[in-house]
């Protein structure tokens, strides 16, 4: 536990940062003691990223001061921050795939790296001391995502580190890997290193952290001791009083099969892509099938096969309502009743620079608004208005550009657009990724309502909690292979975690 009597490692006073049209940080105070694991909680857009960029010297605050070991300091840039002993592990790794672990770390350290073989030795020592096995000579592209994260952490640890900032470190890990990471972090803290743990997963914060600062809309909305309060209290601090925090949904049983994948194998042409290996999967009308998995295990490749961006030449592999669709284009599959919500909202789900009306036409063109090659814009407008009102999309109107909407509102728009086309099968990738809790609940409700109307739904997500909440049957994808899909009540977080790591024996018997 932190020592309350000593000098704080880092103190932020009154930190304020104004971006055009958005007050990202508003008079934020934060104190982290040596040996303390401090959680920074908040929804997307609450100001967490800005604050940590200020600490790491990437962004200059407009106002406020920063005390390091009790002395005021202006952090000029990340190099200066590293010199002070601040290390940071970003959500998106900054590693070179074709270089070895040692070479990557040497690049980050610059002149301090010294000779490569002594550095490799240091890496071995550090990684074994903190229980993070990595082999310094391996090339990064051969590492799993969890291992890559270890490289990022070890890169911070080979320096003399006093404060480690981790940005959503668990979002790329299986539950078992999360446990291993926590062991490492606890050991690190016990040796006196302060840790700033940025997350929105409350049970992890509760399991790991000594203190928590909660941000909402750029301000500190509360501080608490996560070991003492329950997660609902923290969730309230994050989202405010009026938003429903979570719901449980009754599970359902599907009827006839509407989406069938049988023995799908695909060799990815991308050197860093994942090859799909004998994937079989059935989605029935009136059920939600959830597929968990750590990013980069073949989800993108599988989704491309399902949407039709990647066509499957071998017949009898993919059928939609008993029609073989493997060799059909996306629009032909849509005509047969397939709806699709892609992972990237801006860039594939919606065209950023186009209005909501035009984005309604983007996939809604099959159902009425196009006659003889001409667009009936009044019909498109009516469709856009219907989506906006039915799914409570917060926007000035249908003329607003897609990229002016928040992530949650745009996702509500996209999901509404797909649902209102009355599909027979809906495929949704990471439907609530980066979405605030209010919008996530609305999206879950919409999916459940759609399921109850008899549509077959496939959800691929990295968010295990979400999958347990809404799926009726659940499975996991690992290295291009799909585990057996079992009824959710018969699974557990622990079993699913093993499946995400490639151990499918846990599900074998029940499938």
């Amino acid at each position: 536990m932190p020592d309350p009597a000593g000098v704080a490692r880092l103190t932020l006073r009154n930190i304020t940062k104004q971006y055009p049209g958005c007050l990202a940080n508003d008079s934020i105070d934060l104190t982290i003691a040596p040996a303390e694991i401090h959680a920074l909680l908040g929804e997307n857009g609450a100001g967490k990223s800005t604050l940590m960029k200020i600490i790491y010297g990437l962004v200059k605050p407009d106002r406020g001061e920063l005390l390091w070991d009790g002395k005021p300091v202006t952090i000029r840039d990340p190099a200066h921050a590293r010199k002070l002993g601040i290390g940071m592990v970003f959500q998106h790794f900054s590693l070179f795939d074709t270089l070895t672990v040692t070479e990557n770390i040497a690049l980050a350290l610059g002149d301090e790296a010294g000779a490569l073989d002594t550095l490799a030795e240091r890496i071995r020592t550090v990684s074994s001391r903190y229980g993070m096995a990595i082999e310094p000579d391996r090339e990064v592209h051969t590492l799993s995502v969890g291992e890559r994260q270890r490289v990022e952490i070890v890169r911070c640890l080979v320096q003399d580190i006093k404060l480690l900032i981790l940005d959503e470190p668990t979002s790329v890990l299986t539950p078992q890997e999360v446990e291993t990471l926590f062991v490492t972090l606890r050991r690190l803290a016990a040796e006196g290193c302060a840790i700033l743990f940025i997350s929105h997963k409350l049970h992890e914060v509760k399991a790991l952290c000594h203190n928590a600062t909660v941000l909402r809309a750029g301000r500190v909305s509360g501080e608490c001791d996560p070991t003492a309060v329950d997660t609902t209290h923290m969730a309230r601090l994050m989202v405010g009083e009026d938003t429903p925090v979570s719901t449980t949904y009754p599970k359902a049983l599907g009827t006839e099969a509407v989406l069938e994948v049988e023995g799908l194998s695909l060799h990815s042409p991308d050197p860093f892509g994942v090859h799909l290996n004998d994937i079989s999967l059935t989605v029935h009308a009136g059920e939600i099938v959830g597929i968990a998995g750590v990013a980069g295990n073949g989800q993108a490749e599988l989704l491309a096969c399902l949407s039709g961006e990647q066509r499957i030449r071998q017949g009898e592999t993919l059928s939609l309502c008993k029609v073989d669709v493997g060799d059909l284009r996306p629009d032909q599959r849509r005509a047969l009743g397939l709806a699709f919500v892609p992972e990237e909202r801006l860039g594939r789900g919606a065209v950023p620079a186009m209005s909501l009306s035009e984005n309604a036409l983007l996939t809604g063109y099959l159902h009425g608004p196009v006659k003889h090659g001409m667009v009936a814009w009044h019909k498109v407008a009516a469709f856009a208005d219907e989506i906006i009102s039915r799914y409570k999309v917060k926007t000035p109107g249908r003329q607003a550009r897609a990229d002016s909407l928040s992530g949650g509102n745009l996702q509500k728009f996209i999901i509404g657009r797909e649902i209102l086309q009355q599909p027979r099968v809906l495929i949704a990738a990471h439907p609530t990724w980066g979405v605030d809790i209010g919008a996530a609940t609305a999206i879950h409700n919409a999916l459940i309502e759609l399921r109850d109307s008899g549509v077959g739904i496939l959800v691929i997500s990295e968010d295990i909690d979400e999958l347990f909440e809404i799926s009726d049957r659940i499975g996991a994808i690992c290295d291009g292979r799909l585990s057996p899909v079992i009824p959710t009540p018969q699974s557990s977080i622990e079993a699913l975690g093993r499946m995400m790591a490639g151990d499918f024996s846990a599900a074998g018997g029940d499938a």
């Binding site: 049209g21 958005c22 300091v73 202006t74 949407s307 860039g347 186009m354 002016s404």
Partner: protein, 359 residues
């Protein structure tokens, strides 16, 4: 200190103000330039920008000059919306002129209402053929269309020079490098008596309206715009990318080809080595100056046509080199690109930023 600060969202008014600002800065630079050259700047500006259109005959000539530029630019607006950078309108125009001339020369003795359409269609097909080659290379081999279309411009020019010095040369033309004069049936009718304004202007205005309808009302136009803004979304929505690339490039080639045949079958009346003083290149500037919008392009076309005429006036009246036209075109595009920064950024006066405490 003045800094550039990103705007929250792109400024709509600035998108239209930027061309105006660019035109203003071009004028200002022209002013300085003439002063440095020892000319009276007011006099020079009047010579370039007003004298050419001081009478109705001048305005008619402006329309004659504007016709090919407008056709090329409106066609380019279609491909540019698809983010396909066709720099080859010049070559497509030359091929249109060449193929149209070939057809007209085959029909020297023919008479009838069908002759002119046949000549025009040949020109259009010539332009489409030239753009089609670039389209095939892009779709089949993923070749960068900027390079291929530029190279095709040179090939088209040399093909035309070969034809006019060789097979299409007028046998009774005392060995001058020009073809025989086309038959009357192959010549575009004059719209206004006593001027050179011909039927091509109507075709160009028709093309503007057609492209307007295509891009804002038709589903094809919508797909082309989506493909340009966001290819990933277009693919996921099931739009057929290859087909759209062909359609966009062929439309732009067809209109450039029409511009070319409109010149040889219009004001020129025969095939000569010089059928275009770079209209196809000027059209690129016009398309951007007009914000790829039909109305903007029409306005920008007339400005560009005026610059062409002004350059000639400056050569005759002030003894300045004809390169002046290109200089003004260049400045216009340069200032436009510079001013476009203001769509997404704004200037801000800033004193020393953070009053932080140095550690």
């Amino acid at each position: 200190m003045i800094t550039l600060e990103p705007r929250g969202e792109p400024s709509r008014s600035m998108a239209w103000l930027s061309p105006v600002l660019a035109a203003g800065l071009t004028l200002l630079s022209g002013f300085l330039l003439f002063t440095l050259l020892g000319q009276d700047p007011f006099d020079a500006m009047v010579t370039i920008l007003y004298t050419p259109i001081a009478d109705t005959q001048g305005i008619a000539e402006l329309c004659v000059k504007a016709t090919p530029i407008l056709l090329c630019a409106i066609g380019l607006s279609v491909v540019f919306k698809a983010q396909i950078w066709n720099i080859g309108a010049e070559g497509q125009l030359l091929m249109g002129g060449l193929c149209g001339s070939y057809m007209a020369l085959q029909l020297l003795e023919a008479d009838g209402i069908w002759v002119l359409p046949l000549v025009l269609i040949s020109g259009v097909l010539g332009g489409m053929f030239w753009a089609g080659i670039a389209a095939v290379l892009k779709v089949r081999f993923n070749t960068n269309e900027i390079l291929t279309t530029i190279m095709m411009n040179y090939i088209a020019l040399n093909l035309l020079l070969w034809a006019v010095h060789g097979p299409l040369k007028d046998p009774d033309g005392f060995n001058f490098p020009e073809s025989a004069l086309f038959g009357d049936a192959a010549i575009l009718p004059i719209l206004i008596d006593g001027t050179r304004v011909h039927f091509g202007l109507l075709l160009a205005l028709l093309a503007v309206v057609a492209v307007w309808v295509l891009m804002s009302r038709s589903f094809y136009g919508f797909q082309i715009r989506v493909m340009g803004l966001d290819a990933g979304a277009a693919r996921l929505a099931g739009f057929r990318e290859r087909r759209l690339v062909y359609v966009a490039l062929l439309i732009s080639g067809a209109l450039a080809g029409l511009a070319g045949v409109g010149e040889v079958a219009g004001p020129i009346g025969q095939l000569v080595p010089q059928i275009s003083p770079g209209y196809g290149y000027a059209a690129i500037i016009v398309a951007f100056l007009g914000r790829l919008h039909p109305l903007g392009i029409t306005l920008a076309t007339f400005l560009m046509a005026l610059l062409y005429m002004g350059g000639e006036m400056a050569q005759i009246g002030l003894g300045l080199p004809l390169a002046l036209t290109e200089l003004f075109q260049g400045m216009l595009l340069f200032y436009l690109l510079a001013c476009d920064v203001l769509i997404n950024f704004r200037f801000r006066l800033k004193r020393k930023a953070v009053t932080g405490i140095q550690g």
